[in-house]
Protein backbone atom coordinates (compact mmCIF):
# COMPACT_ATOMS: atom_id res chain seq x y z
CA UNK A 1 0.00 0.00 0.00
CA UNK A 2 1.19 3.49 -0.80
CA UNK A 3 1.50 5.78 2.22
CA UNK A 4 2.40 8.76 0.06
CA UNK A 5 5.90 9.25 1.35
CA UNK A 6 7.91 12.27 0.31
CA UNK A 7 11.10 11.86 -1.70
CA UNK A 8 13.16 12.17 1.48
CA UNK A 9 11.07 9.58 3.27
CA UNK A 10 11.54 7.18 0.39
CA UNK A 11 15.29 7.79 0.52
CA UNK A 12 15.33 6.86 4.19
CA UNK A 13 13.29 3.75 3.55
CA UNK A 14 15.45 2.64 0.64
CA UNK A 15 18.74 3.27 2.39
CA UNK A 16 17.61 1.64 5.65
CA UNK A 17 16.42 -1.35 3.64
CA UNK A 18 19.72 -1.54 1.79
CA UNK A 19 21.62 -1.48 5.08
CA UNK A 20 19.28 -4.12 6.48
CA UNK A 21 19.62 -6.45 3.53
CA UNK A 22 23.29 -6.00 2.73
CA UNK A 23 24.78 -5.54 6.16
CA UNK A 24 22.37 -6.86 8.79
CA UNK A 25 20.74 -9.98 7.35
CA UNK A 26 24.10 -11.73 6.75
CA UNK A 27 25.22 -11.28 10.38
CA UNK A 28 22.03 -11.29 12.43
CA UNK A 29 22.05 -14.98 13.33
CA UNK A 30 25.67 -14.84 14.45
CA UNK A 31 25.15 -11.69 16.52
CA UNK A 32 22.14 -13.36 18.17
CA UNK A 33 24.08 -16.54 18.86
CA UNK A 34 27.11 -14.74 20.26
CA UNK A 35 25.06 -12.06 22.07
CA UNK A 36 27.30 -9.48 20.50
CA UNK A 37 26.79 -5.73 20.23
CA UNK A 38 26.66 -4.76 16.52
CA UNK A 39 29.47 -2.20 16.59
CA UNK A 40 30.17 -2.44 12.85
CA UNK A 41 26.52 -1.99 11.96
CA UNK A 42 26.35 1.04 14.23
CA UNK A 43 29.26 2.48 12.26
CA UNK A 44 27.44 1.87 8.99
CA UNK A 45 24.33 3.56 10.41
CA UNK A 46 26.44 6.49 11.57
CA UNK A 47 28.15 6.89 8.24
CA UNK A 48 24.78 6.79 6.48
CA UNK A 49 23.49 9.69 8.65
CA UNK A 50 20.81 7.46 10.21
CA UNK A 51 21.52 8.81 13.69
CA UNK A 52 20.82 12.35 12.53
CA UNK A 53 17.32 11.84 11.16
CA UNK A 54 15.41 13.47 14.04
CA UNK A 55 18.12 15.92 15.13
CA UNK A 56 17.55 19.55 13.98
CA UNK A 57 19.68 20.74 11.10
CA UNK A 58 21.40 23.43 13.16
CA UNK A 59 22.96 20.63 15.23
CA UNK A 60 24.12 18.65 12.23
CA UNK A 61 21.06 16.47 11.80
CA UNK A 62 18.51 16.18 9.04
CA UNK A 63 15.77 17.97 10.97
CA UNK A 64 13.10 15.38 10.41
CA UNK A 65 10.51 13.92 12.70
CA UNK A 66 8.85 10.89 14.21
CA UNK A 67 7.58 9.48 10.93
CA UNK A 68 11.02 9.46 9.33
CA UNK A 69 12.50 7.82 12.42
CA UNK A 70 9.70 5.23 12.36
CA UNK A 71 10.46 4.44 8.70
CA UNK A 72 14.12 3.78 9.50
CA UNK A 73 13.28 1.77 12.63
CA UNK A 74 10.72 -0.35 10.77
CA UNK A 75 13.18 -1.27 8.01
CA UNK A 76 15.94 -2.17 10.46
CA UNK A 77 13.50 -4.17 12.59
CA UNK A 78 12.44 -6.17 9.55
CA UNK A 79 15.96 -7.61 9.52
CA UNK A 80 16.94 -7.66 13.21
CA UNK A 81 15.12 -6.36 16.24
CA UNK A 82 18.26 -6.51 18.38
CA UNK A 83 20.02 -4.04 16.12
CA UNK A 84 16.98 -1.83 15.77
CA UNK A 85 16.73 -1.76 19.58
CA UNK A 86 20.30 -0.49 19.87
CA UNK A 87 19.44 2.12 17.27
CA UNK A 88 16.07 3.16 18.70
CA UNK A 89 17.40 3.30 22.29
CA UNK A 90 19.77 5.95 21.03
CA UNK A 91 16.81 8.12 20.05
CA UNK A 92 15.17 7.40 23.39
CA UNK A 93 18.26 8.66 25.21
CA UNK A 94 18.49 11.72 22.98
CA UNK A 95 14.91 12.98 23.38
CA UNK A 96 15.48 14.41 26.91
CA UNK A 97 18.25 16.62 25.48
CA UNK A 98 16.17 17.56 22.43
CA UNK A 99 13.08 18.34 24.49
CA UNK A 100 14.59 19.88 27.63
CA UNK A 101 18.24 20.67 26.89
CA UNK A 102 19.60 24.19 27.06
CA UNK A 103 21.21 25.72 23.98
CA UNK A 104 24.64 24.96 25.47
CA UNK A 105 23.71 21.34 26.15
CA UNK A 106 22.33 20.90 22.65
CA UNK A 107 25.40 22.45 21.06
CA UNK A 108 27.65 20.29 23.16
CA UNK A 109 25.96 16.93 22.61
CA UNK A 110 23.69 16.87 19.57
CA UNK A 111 26.27 17.22 16.77
CA UNK A 112 28.18 14.16 18.02
CA UNK A 113 24.92 12.24 18.42
CA UNK A 114 23.67 13.20 14.94
CA UNK A 115 26.93 12.08 13.37
CA UNK A 116 26.85 8.80 15.27
CA UNK A 117 30.17 9.60 16.92
CA UNK A 118 28.53 9.19 20.31
CA UNK A 119 25.87 6.71 21.31
CA UNK A 120 23.22 7.52 23.91
CA UNK A 121 21.28 5.53 26.52
CA UNK A 122 18.25 6.40 28.63
CA UNK A 123 18.26 5.29 32.27
CA UNK A 124 15.02 5.21 34.23
CA UNK A 125 14.43 1.60 35.31
CA UNK A 126 15.78 0.32 38.65
CA UNK A 127 15.39 -2.92 40.59
CA UNK A 128 12.44 -1.41 42.44
CA UNK A 129 11.25 1.03 39.80
CA UNK A 130 10.06 0.02 36.38
CA UNK A 131 6.48 0.55 35.50
CA UNK A 132 6.25 2.44 38.79
CA UNK A 133 8.63 5.31 38.14
CA UNK A 134 7.94 6.79 41.54
CA UNK A 135 9.91 3.98 43.15
CA UNK A 136 13.24 5.41 42.01
CA UNK A 137 16.01 4.97 44.59
CA UNK A 138 18.93 6.64 42.80
CA UNK A 139 19.68 9.95 44.44
CA UNK A 140 21.36 13.15 43.29
CA UNK A 141 22.57 15.51 45.95
CA UNK A 142 23.81 18.97 45.13
CA UNK A 143 27.25 19.77 46.51
CA UNK A 144 28.79 22.99 45.24
CA UNK A 145 29.18 22.82 41.47
CA UNK A 146 28.22 19.15 41.31
CA UNK A 147 25.40 16.75 41.83
CA UNK A 148 26.54 13.58 43.57
CA UNK A 149 24.71 10.53 42.19
CA UNK A 150 24.33 7.28 44.09
CA UNK A 151 22.35 4.22 43.13
CA UNK A 152 21.80 1.54 40.53
CA UNK A 153 20.00 1.56 37.18
CA UNK A 154 18.95 -1.77 35.76
CA UNK A 155 18.28 -3.27 32.29
CA UNK A 156 19.66 -0.25 30.47
CA UNK A 157 19.89 -0.71 26.71
CA UNK A 158 23.23 0.39 25.21
CA UNK A 159 24.79 0.58 28.72
CA UNK A 160 28.55 0.35 28.49
CA UNK A 161 28.52 1.01 24.74
CA UNK A 162 26.96 4.47 24.99
CA UNK A 163 29.01 7.59 25.70
CA UNK A 164 26.13 9.73 26.93
CA UNK A 165 23.44 8.72 29.45
CA UNK A 166 20.29 10.59 30.36
CA UNK A 167 19.59 9.51 33.92
CA UNK A 168 16.60 10.11 36.18
CA UNK A 169 17.47 10.48 39.89
CA UNK A 170 15.76 11.77 43.02
CA UNK A 171 16.87 15.22 44.16
CA UNK A 172 14.21 15.63 46.84
CA UNK A 173 12.56 12.51 48.14
CA UNK A 174 10.06 14.46 50.20
CA UNK A 175 8.39 15.74 47.00
CA UNK A 176 7.67 12.24 45.65
CA UNK A 177 7.29 12.22 41.88
CA UNK A 178 8.02 15.96 41.81
CA UNK A 179 11.33 15.36 43.52
CA UNK A 180 12.98 13.67 40.53
CA UNK A 181 15.47 15.33 38.16
CA UNK A 182 17.13 14.36 34.90
CA UNK A 183 20.89 14.51 34.27
CA UNK A 184 23.30 14.07 31.42
CA UNK A 185 26.04 11.71 32.60
CA UNK A 186 29.04 10.95 30.45
CA UNK A 187 30.96 7.73 30.35
CA UNK A 188 34.19 8.17 32.25
CA UNK A 189 32.81 10.53 34.88
CA UNK A 190 34.18 9.83 38.33
CA UNK A 191 32.15 7.21 40.24
CA UNK A 192 30.25 5.96 37.18
CA UNK A 193 30.65 2.30 36.21
CA UNK A 194 28.77 -0.60 34.66
CA UNK A 195 27.44 -3.77 36.22
CA UNK A 196 26.67 -7.17 34.84
CA UNK A 197 25.62 -7.83 31.26
CA UNK A 198 22.19 -9.45 31.13
CA UNK A 199 21.52 -12.69 29.27
CA UNK A 200 18.30 -12.25 27.38
CA UNK A 201 15.67 -14.34 25.64
CA UNK A 202 15.78 -12.19 22.51
CA UNK A 203 17.15 -8.95 21.05
CA UNK A 204 20.52 -10.43 21.88
CA UNK A 205 22.36 -8.19 19.43
CA UNK A 206 21.59 -5.34 21.82
CA UNK A 207 23.41 -4.92 25.09
CA UNK A 208 21.56 -4.61 28.39
CA UNK A 209 23.51 -3.73 31.53
CA UNK A 210 23.43 -2.04 34.89
CA UNK A 211 24.65 1.49 35.57
CA UNK A 212 26.36 1.92 38.93
CA UNK A 213 26.70 5.35 40.53
CA UNK A 214 28.99 5.54 43.53
CA UNK A 215 29.41 9.16 44.53
CA UNK A 216 29.39 9.97 40.85
CA UNK A 217 30.22 13.64 40.32
CA UNK A 218 28.07 15.27 37.65
CA UNK A 219 28.62 18.99 36.88
CA UNK A 220 25.59 20.98 37.90
CA UNK A 221 25.14 22.37 34.36
CA UNK A 222 24.33 18.82 33.26
CA UNK A 223 20.86 18.90 34.77
CA UNK A 224 18.10 18.75 32.18
CA UNK A 225 15.42 21.35 32.78
CA UNK A 226 15.09 22.33 36.42
CA UNK A 227 15.32 20.34 39.62
CA UNK A 228 12.08 18.44 40.12
CA UNK A 229 11.30 18.08 36.43
CA UNK A 230 12.74 14.59 36.14
CA UNK A 231 9.44 12.81 36.05
CA UNK A 232 8.08 15.14 33.37
CA UNK A 233 11.28 14.66 31.34
CA UNK A 234 10.81 10.91 31.54
CA UNK A 235 7.12 10.94 30.64
CA UNK A 236 7.48 13.38 27.74
CA UNK A 237 10.41 11.35 26.45
CA UNK A 238 8.43 8.14 26.56
CA UNK A 239 5.43 9.79 24.90
CA UNK A 240 7.74 10.81 22.08
CA UNK A 241 9.64 7.57 21.68
CA UNK A 242 6.83 5.04 22.18
CA UNK A 243 5.79 5.23 18.55
CA UNK A 244 9.24 3.91 17.63
CA UNK A 245 8.46 0.70 19.52
CA UNK A 246 5.30 0.46 17.43
CA UNK A 247 7.42 0.80 14.29
CA UNK A 248 9.67 -1.98 15.59
CA UNK A 249 6.58 -4.17 15.91
CA UNK A 250 5.52 -3.46 12.33
CA UNK A 251 9.03 -4.18 11.09
CA UNK A 252 9.58 -7.49 12.85
CA UNK A 253 6.08 -8.65 11.91
CA UNK A 254 6.74 -7.77 8.27
CA UNK A 255 10.04 -9.65 8.34
CA UNK A 256 8.47 -12.77 9.83
CA UNK A 257 5.51 -12.58 7.47
CA UNK A 258 7.77 -12.44 4.40
CA UNK A 259 9.72 -15.48 5.60
CA UNK A 260 6.50 -17.42 6.17
CA UNK A 261 5.11 -16.38 2.81
CA UNK A 262 8.25 -17.44 0.92
CA UNK A 263 8.32 -20.73 2.78
CA UNK A 264 4.64 -21.48 2.16
CA UNK A 265 5.15 -20.95 -1.55
CA UNK A 266 8.10 -23.34 -1.70
CA UNK A 267 7.20 -26.03 0.79
CA UNK A 268 5.42 -28.93 -0.86
CA UNK A 269 3.18 -31.30 1.12
CA UNK A 270 0.57 -33.68 -0.27
CA UNK A 271 1.92 -32.79 -3.72
CA UNK A 272 1.19 -29.08 -3.51
CA UNK A 273 2.86 -25.98 -2.11
CA UNK A 274 1.33 -25.48 1.33
CA UNK A 275 0.24 -21.96 0.36
CA UNK A 276 -2.47 -23.59 -1.76
CA UNK A 277 -4.19 -24.88 1.39
CA UNK A 278 -6.81 -22.54 2.78
CA UNK A 279 -5.79 -23.37 6.35
CA UNK A 280 -2.44 -21.79 5.58
CA UNK A 281 -3.84 -19.01 3.41
CA UNK A 282 -6.10 -17.85 6.23
CA UNK A 283 -3.23 -17.62 8.69
CA UNK A 284 -1.23 -15.62 6.14
CA UNK A 285 -4.22 -13.41 5.38
CA UNK A 286 -4.72 -12.62 9.06
CA UNK A 287 -1.03 -11.82 9.39
CA UNK A 288 -1.21 -9.44 6.44
CA UNK A 289 -4.36 -7.72 7.74
CA UNK A 290 -2.86 -7.14 11.15
CA UNK A 291 0.44 -5.82 9.82
CA UNK A 292 -1.24 -3.35 7.49
CA UNK A 293 -3.56 -2.14 10.25
CA UNK A 294 -0.64 -1.72 12.65
CA UNK A 295 1.40 0.11 10.03
CA UNK A 296 -1.45 2.48 9.23
CA UNK A 297 -1.91 3.30 12.90
CA UNK A 298 1.81 3.79 13.52
CA UNK A 299 2.23 6.11 10.52
CA UNK A 300 -0.91 8.07 11.40
CA UNK A 301 0.21 8.62 14.97
CA UNK A 302 3.73 9.52 13.84
CA UNK A 303 2.26 12.14 11.51
CA UNK A 304 0.09 13.40 14.37
CA UNK A 305 3.17 13.78 16.58
CA UNK A 306 4.98 15.60 13.77
CA UNK A 307 2.07 18.01 13.44
CA UNK A 308 3.13 19.40 16.81
CA UNK A 309 0.11 18.06 18.69
CA UNK A 310 0.41 18.02 22.47
CA UNK A 311 -2.07 15.28 23.43
CA UNK A 312 -0.01 12.40 22.08
CA UNK A 313 0.08 10.11 25.14
CA UNK A 314 -3.09 8.21 24.39
CA UNK A 315 -2.62 7.70 20.66
CA UNK A 316 1.07 6.81 20.94
CA UNK A 317 0.16 4.26 23.62
CA UNK A 318 -2.52 2.84 21.32
CA UNK A 319 -0.06 2.46 18.46
CA UNK A 320 2.54 0.86 20.74
CA UNK A 321 0.10 -1.66 22.19
CA UNK A 322 -1.52 -2.57 18.93
CA UNK A 323 1.62 -2.88 16.80
CA UNK A 324 3.56 -4.84 19.41
CA UNK A 325 0.69 -7.24 20.13
CA UNK A 326 0.50 -7.74 16.36
CA UNK A 327 4.25 -8.39 16.29
CA UNK A 328 3.95 -11.14 18.91
CA UNK A 329 0.98 -12.73 17.16
CA UNK A 330 2.43 -12.54 13.65
CA UNK A 331 5.88 -13.83 14.58
CA UNK A 332 4.27 -16.73 16.46
CA UNK A 333 2.08 -17.49 13.46
CA UNK A 334 5.10 -17.34 11.16
CA UNK A 335 6.73 -20.09 13.22
CA UNK A 336 3.48 -22.05 13.00
CA UNK A 337 3.20 -21.72 9.21
CA UNK A 338 6.77 -22.92 8.84
CA UNK A 339 6.26 -25.79 11.28
CA UNK A 340 9.43 -27.64 12.23
CA UNK A 341 11.52 -25.40 9.99
CA UNK A 342 10.16 -22.37 11.80
CA UNK A 343 11.30 -23.77 15.12
CA UNK A 344 14.85 -24.36 13.90
CA UNK A 345 17.58 -21.75 14.26
CA UNK A 346 18.48 -22.35 10.62
CA UNK A 347 15.53 -20.10 9.75
CA UNK A 348 15.17 -16.58 11.14
CA UNK A 349 11.59 -16.71 12.43
CA UNK A 350 12.25 -18.38 15.79
CA UNK A 351 14.59 -15.49 16.57
CA UNK A 352 11.97 -13.01 15.45
CA UNK A 353 9.45 -14.60 17.79
CA UNK A 354 11.88 -14.49 20.72
CA UNK A 355 12.78 -10.91 19.85
CA UNK A 356 9.19 -9.72 19.45
CA UNK A 357 8.28 -10.52 23.06
CA UNK A 358 10.29 -7.61 24.46
CA UNK A 359 8.16 -5.14 22.52
CA UNK A 360 5.18 -5.91 24.75
CA UNK A 361 7.37 -5.28 27.78
CA UNK A 362 9.84 -2.45 27.36
CA UNK A 363 9.24 1.30 27.32
CA UNK A 364 6.13 0.67 29.42
CA UNK A 365 4.46 -2.73 29.36
CA UNK A 366 1.35 -3.04 27.27
CA UNK A 367 -0.62 -3.13 30.51
CA UNK A 368 0.84 0.24 31.53
CA UNK A 369 0.02 1.53 28.04
CA UNK A 370 -3.58 0.51 28.58
CA UNK A 371 -3.51 2.39 31.88
CA UNK A 372 -2.38 5.48 30.02
CA UNK A 373 -5.18 5.03 27.53
CA UNK A 374 -7.64 4.33 30.34
CA UNK A 375 -6.68 7.50 32.21
CA UNK A 376 -7.06 9.53 29.03
CA UNK A 377 -10.50 7.99 28.54
CA UNK A 378 -11.54 8.94 32.08
CA UNK A 379 -10.63 12.56 31.31
CA UNK A 380 -12.61 12.42 28.09
CA UNK A 381 -15.58 10.90 29.87
CA UNK A 382 -15.47 13.70 32.42
CA UNK A 383 -15.64 16.22 29.59
CA UNK A 384 -18.64 14.40 28.10
CA UNK A 385 -20.61 14.06 31.30
CA UNK A 386 -19.39 17.21 32.99
Amino acid sequence: MDYFFTEEQKMIRDLARQIAEEKIVPVRAELDEKEEFPREIMEVLAQSDMFGIFVPEEYGGLGMGALELCIAVEELSRACLGISTSYAANALGTYPILLFGTEEQKKKYLPDIAAGRKLVAFALTEPNAGSDAAGIQTTAKKEGDYYILNGLKQWITNAGEADIYTVIAITDRAKGARGASAFIVEKGMEGFSFGKKEKKMGIRASVTRELIFENCKVPKENILGREGMGFIVAMRTLDQSRIGVGAQGVGVAQGAFEEALKFAKQRVQFGKPIISFQAVQHILADMAIQIEAARSLVYSVARYIDSGAKDISKVSAMAKVFATDVAMKVTTDAVQVMGGAGYMREYPVEKMMRDAKILQIYEGTNQIQRNIIGQALIKEATKLTG
Binding site: E7, E8, M11, I12, L15, Q18, I19, E22, K23, V44, Q47, S48, D49, M50, G52, I53, L62
Partner: protein, 260 residues
Protein backbone atom coordinates in the same frame (compact mmCIF):
# COMPACT_ATOMS: atom_id res chain seq x y z
CA UNK B 1 45.05 15.96 -4.48
CA UNK B 2 42.91 15.85 -7.60
CA UNK B 3 41.36 12.39 -7.80
CA UNK B 4 39.45 11.21 -10.88
CA UNK B 5 37.39 8.03 -10.79
CA UNK B 6 36.12 6.49 -14.03
CA UNK B 7 32.89 4.51 -13.80
CA UNK B 8 30.55 2.71 -16.15
CA UNK B 9 26.87 2.02 -15.89
CA UNK B 10 26.25 -1.61 -16.79
CA UNK B 11 23.31 -4.01 -16.93
CA UNK B 12 23.35 -6.25 -13.87
CA UNK B 13 24.77 -9.28 -15.68
CA UNK B 14 23.91 -11.55 -12.82
CA UNK B 15 20.35 -11.06 -13.98
CA UNK B 16 20.95 -11.46 -17.71
CA UNK B 17 19.90 -14.85 -19.08
CA UNK B 18 19.63 -16.22 -22.54
CA UNK B 19 16.57 -17.77 -24.09
CA UNK B 20 17.90 -21.02 -25.58
CA UNK B 21 15.11 -21.24 -28.13
CA UNK B 22 15.45 -17.81 -29.68
CA UNK B 23 19.10 -17.22 -28.80
CA UNK B 24 18.30 -13.78 -27.52
CA UNK B 25 18.96 -12.20 -24.20
CA UNK B 26 16.15 -12.11 -21.71
CA UNK B 27 16.41 -8.62 -20.35
CA UNK B 28 13.13 -8.35 -18.54
CA UNK B 29 13.63 -6.66 -15.22
CA UNK B 30 17.37 -6.31 -15.68
CA UNK B 31 18.42 -3.18 -13.85
CA UNK B 32 21.33 -0.86 -14.45
CA UNK B 33 24.01 -0.63 -11.79
CA UNK B 34 27.40 0.97 -11.34
CA UNK B 35 29.93 -1.60 -12.49
CA UNK B 36 30.81 -3.42 -9.23
CA UNK B 37 34.57 -2.99 -9.65
CA UNK B 38 34.02 0.75 -10.10
CA UNK B 39 32.36 0.86 -6.69
CA UNK B 40 35.72 -0.16 -5.26
CA UNK B 41 37.36 2.57 -7.35
CA UNK B 42 34.98 5.15 -5.88
CA UNK B 43 35.71 3.91 -2.37
CA UNK B 44 39.44 4.07 -3.05
CA UNK B 45 39.05 7.65 -4.25
CA UNK B 46 37.06 8.65 -1.18
CA UNK B 47 39.58 7.03 1.15
CA UNK B 48 42.46 8.81 -0.57
CA UNK B 49 40.64 12.09 -0.20
CA UNK B 50 40.01 11.42 3.49
CA UNK B 51 43.70 10.73 3.96
CA UNK B 52 45.28 13.32 1.70
CA UNK B 53 42.63 15.96 1.14
CA UNK B 54 41.56 17.24 -2.25
CA UNK B 55 38.57 16.43 -4.42
CA UNK B 56 37.09 13.35 -6.02
CA UNK B 57 35.54 13.73 -9.47
CA UNK B 58 33.70 10.84 -11.03
CA UNK B 59 33.33 10.62 -14.79
CA UNK B 60 31.45 8.32 -17.11
CA UNK B 61 30.76 8.08 -20.80
CA UNK B 62 27.29 6.98 -21.79
CA UNK B 63 23.79 7.98 -22.71
CA UNK B 64 21.92 10.60 -20.66
CA UNK B 65 20.53 7.83 -18.40
CA UNK B 66 24.06 7.19 -17.11
CA UNK B 67 23.51 10.27 -14.96
CA UNK B 68 21.90 7.94 -12.42
CA UNK B 69 25.22 6.20 -11.88
CA UNK B 70 26.90 9.55 -11.28
CA UNK B 71 24.24 10.60 -8.78
CA UNK B 72 24.77 7.35 -6.92
CA UNK B 73 28.48 8.14 -6.74
CA UNK B 74 27.68 11.60 -5.37
CA UNK B 75 25.46 10.02 -2.71
CA UNK B 76 28.53 8.07 -1.57
CA UNK B 77 30.43 11.30 -1.14
CA UNK B 78 32.25 12.27 -4.35
CA UNK B 79 32.49 15.99 -4.93
CA UNK B 80 31.82 16.39 -8.59
CA UNK B 81 30.48 14.40 -11.55
CA UNK B 82 30.99 14.66 -15.27
CA UNK B 83 28.93 12.92 -17.93
CA UNK B 84 30.45 12.46 -21.36
CA UNK B 85 27.40 12.24 -23.52
CA UNK B 86 27.14 12.86 -27.22
CA UNK B 87 25.50 11.06 -30.12
CA UNK B 88 28.99 10.98 -31.65
CA UNK B 89 30.22 8.75 -28.81
CA UNK B 90 27.86 5.94 -29.85
CA UNK B 91 29.33 2.54 -30.61
CA UNK B 92 32.73 3.27 -29.11
CA UNK B 93 35.12 0.37 -28.56
CA UNK B 94 37.80 0.44 -25.87
CA UNK B 95 40.18 2.58 -27.92
CA UNK B 96 37.62 5.28 -28.71
CA UNK B 97 36.27 5.13 -25.16
CA UNK B 98 39.75 5.55 -23.72
CA UNK B 99 40.58 8.43 -26.02
CA UNK B 100 37.36 10.17 -25.02
CA UNK B 101 37.80 9.60 -21.28
CA UNK B 102 41.43 10.71 -21.48
CA UNK B 103 40.36 13.90 -23.26
CA UNK B 104 37.97 14.72 -20.44
CA UNK B 105 40.45 13.80 -17.71
CA UNK B 106 43.10 16.01 -19.24
CA UNK B 107 40.62 18.88 -19.32
CA UNK B 108 39.69 18.33 -15.67
CA UNK B 109 43.26 17.96 -14.40
CA UNK B 110 44.39 15.10 -12.16
CA UNK B 111 46.95 13.65 -9.78
CA UNK B 112 45.60 10.13 -9.76
CA UNK B 113 43.04 8.33 -11.92
CA UNK B 114 41.26 5.29 -10.50
CA UNK B 115 39.33 2.71 -12.54
CA UNK B 116 37.73 -0.62 -11.68
CA UNK B 117 39.76 -3.50 -13.08
CA UNK B 118 37.12 -4.27 -15.70
CA UNK B 119 33.44 -3.80 -16.47
CA UNK B 120 31.21 -6.81 -15.96
CA UNK B 121 29.38 -6.39 -19.28
CA UNK B 122 32.48 -6.38 -21.48
CA UNK B 123 35.08 -7.87 -19.14
CA UNK B 124 37.86 -6.39 -21.28
CA UNK B 125 39.99 -4.68 -18.59
CA UNK B 126 41.42 -2.53 -21.40
CA UNK B 127 40.07 0.93 -20.82
CA UNK B 128 42.19 1.68 -17.72
CA UNK B 129 45.60 0.97 -19.30
CA UNK B 130 44.55 2.60 -22.58
CA UNK B 131 43.47 5.79 -20.81
CA UNK B 132 46.86 5.88 -19.10
CA UNK B 133 48.56 5.55 -22.48
CA UNK B 134 46.52 8.40 -23.93
CA UNK B 135 47.36 10.52 -20.90
CA UNK B 136 51.01 9.59 -21.14
CA UNK B 137 51.18 8.50 -17.51
CA UNK B 138 52.18 5.16 -16.00
CA UNK B 139 49.57 2.77 -14.66
CA UNK B 140 49.43 -0.13 -12.24
CA UNK B 141 46.67 -2.68 -12.88
CA UNK B 142 44.90 -5.01 -10.39
CA UNK B 143 45.73 -3.01 -7.29
CA UNK B 144 44.62 -4.84 -4.14
CA UNK B 145 46.26 -2.62 -1.54
CA UNK B 146 47.53 0.92 -1.32
CA UNK B 147 50.43 0.62 1.06
CA UNK B 148 51.72 4.16 1.13
CA UNK B 149 51.12 7.43 -0.65
CA UNK B 150 53.02 10.71 -0.59
CA UNK B 151 52.92 13.75 -2.88
CA UNK B 152 55.32 12.18 -5.37
CA UNK B 153 54.99 8.43 -5.14
CA UNK B 154 52.75 5.58 -4.21
CA UNK B 155 53.44 2.00 -3.14
CA UNK B 156 50.87 -0.58 -4.23
CA UNK B 157 50.19 -4.30 -4.18
CA UNK B 158 49.45 -5.56 -7.67
CA UNK B 159 47.62 -8.90 -7.93
CA UNK B 160 49.34 -11.51 -10.08
CA UNK B 161 48.37 -15.12 -10.80
CA UNK B 162 50.53 -16.60 -8.08
CA UNK B 163 50.54 -13.82 -5.52
CA UNK B 164 51.25 -10.13 -5.71
CA UNK B 165 53.97 -7.65 -6.60
CA UNK B 166 54.81 -4.67 -4.42
CA UNK B 167 55.15 -1.82 -6.92
CA UNK B 168 56.40 1.71 -6.45
CA UNK B 169 55.10 4.27 -8.92
CA UNK B 170 55.33 8.03 -9.36
CA UNK B 171 52.38 10.44 -9.46
CA UNK B 172 50.48 11.26 -11.57
CA UNK B 173 49.37 7.68 -12.04
CA UNK B 174 46.41 5.59 -13.13
CA UNK B 175 45.45 2.50 -11.15
CA UNK B 176 42.85 -0.18 -11.79
CA UNK B 177 41.51 -1.80 -8.65
CA UNK B 178 40.20 -5.22 -7.61
CA UNK B 179 37.56 -6.15 -5.05
CA UNK B 180 40.13 -7.09 -2.42
CA UNK B 181 41.14 -3.43 -2.09
CA UNK B 182 38.22 -2.28 0.08
CA UNK B 183 34.55 -2.52 0.95
CA UNK B 184 32.56 0.19 -0.83
CA UNK B 185 30.59 2.35 1.57
CA UNK B 186 26.84 2.74 1.36
CA UNK B 187 25.42 6.11 0.46
CA UNK B 188 24.50 8.53 3.24
CA UNK B 189 21.19 10.34 3.59
CA UNK B 190 22.86 13.72 3.24
CA UNK B 191 24.75 12.42 0.23
CA UNK B 192 21.52 11.19 -1.35
CA UNK B 193 19.90 14.57 -0.82
CA UNK B 194 22.91 16.34 -2.28
CA UNK B 195 22.93 13.90 -5.20
CA UNK B 196 19.33 14.73 -6.03
CA UNK B 197 20.13 18.40 -6.48
CA UNK B 198 23.72 18.22 -7.69
CA UNK B 199 24.56 19.66 -11.05
CA UNK B 200 26.15 17.15 -13.40
CA UNK B 201 28.57 18.62 -15.89
CA UNK B 202 28.07 17.42 -19.45
CA UNK B 203 30.83 17.22 -22.04
CA UNK B 204 30.46 16.57 -25.77
CA UNK B 205 33.30 15.85 -28.19
CA UNK B 206 33.59 19.59 -28.76
CA UNK B 207 34.10 20.26 -25.05
CA UNK B 208 37.03 17.88 -24.91
CA UNK B 209 38.46 19.00 -28.21
CA UNK B 210 38.42 15.71 -30.09
CA UNK B 211 37.20 15.51 -33.67
CA UNK B 212 34.01 13.64 -34.35
CA UNK B 213 35.69 10.92 -36.42
CA UNK B 214 38.01 9.99 -33.56
CA UNK B 215 35.28 9.10 -31.08
CA UNK B 216 32.38 6.64 -31.05
CA UNK B 217 31.96 4.10 -33.77
CA UNK B 218 34.03 6.06 -36.28
CA UNK B 219 36.97 6.24 -33.93
CA UNK B 220 36.74 2.52 -33.11
CA UNK B 221 39.05 0.06 -34.86
CA UNK B 222 37.07 -2.96 -33.70
CA UNK B 223 33.51 -3.84 -34.58
CA UNK B 224 31.10 -6.45 -33.36
CA UNK B 225 30.49 -8.66 -36.36
CA UNK B 226 27.78 -10.71 -34.73
CA UNK B 227 26.63 -12.13 -31.43
CA UNK B 228 25.41 -15.65 -30.88
CA UNK B 229 24.56 -18.12 -28.17
CA UNK B 230 27.32 -20.54 -27.20
CA UNK B 231 26.94 -23.53 -29.52
CA UNK B 232 25.88 -26.98 -28.53
CA UNK B 233 27.90 -30.10 -29.12
CA UNK B 234 26.42 -32.26 -31.84
CA UNK B 235 27.59 -35.76 -31.03
CA UNK B 236 26.39 -36.08 -27.46
CA UNK B 237 24.94 -39.34 -26.29
CA UNK B 238 22.24 -39.63 -23.70
CA UNK B 239 22.68 -42.95 -21.94
CA UNK B 240 19.51 -44.97 -21.48
CA UNK B 241 18.23 -47.66 -19.16
CA UNK B 242 18.13 -48.24 -15.44
CA UNK B 243 20.65 -46.43 -13.26
CA UNK B 244 22.76 -49.63 -13.13
CA UNK B 245 22.72 -49.95 -16.91
CA UNK B 246 23.53 -46.28 -17.39
CA UNK B 247 26.49 -46.49 -15.05
CA UNK B 248 27.85 -49.64 -16.70
CA UNK B 249 27.44 -48.09 -20.11
CA UNK B 250 29.23 -44.95 -19.00
CA UNK B 251 32.12 -46.96 -17.64
CA UNK B 252 32.39 -48.83 -20.94
CA UNK B 253 32.38 -45.60 -22.94
CA UNK B 254 35.00 -44.05 -20.69
CA UNK B 255 37.15 -47.13 -21.00
CA UNK B 256 36.96 -46.86 -24.79
CA UNK B 257 38.20 -43.28 -24.54
CA UNK B 258 40.91 -44.41 -22.12
CA UNK B 259 39.58 -41.93 -19.57
CA UNK B 260 39.70 -44.69 -16.97
Amino acid sequence: MRIIVCVKQVPDTAEVKINPETNTLIREGVSSIINPYDMHAIEAGLQLKEKKGGTVTVITMGPPQAEEALREAISMGVDEAVLLTDRAFAGADTLATSRTLAGAIRKLGFDIVICGKQAIDGDTAQVGPEVAEFLGIPHVAYVKKIEEITEEKIVLYRMMEEGYDVVEAPLPLLITVVKELNVPRLPSLKGKMRAKKAEIKRFTHKDIGIEEDRVGLRGSPTQVKNIFAPERKKERKILQGSPEEQVEWLIEELKKLKCI
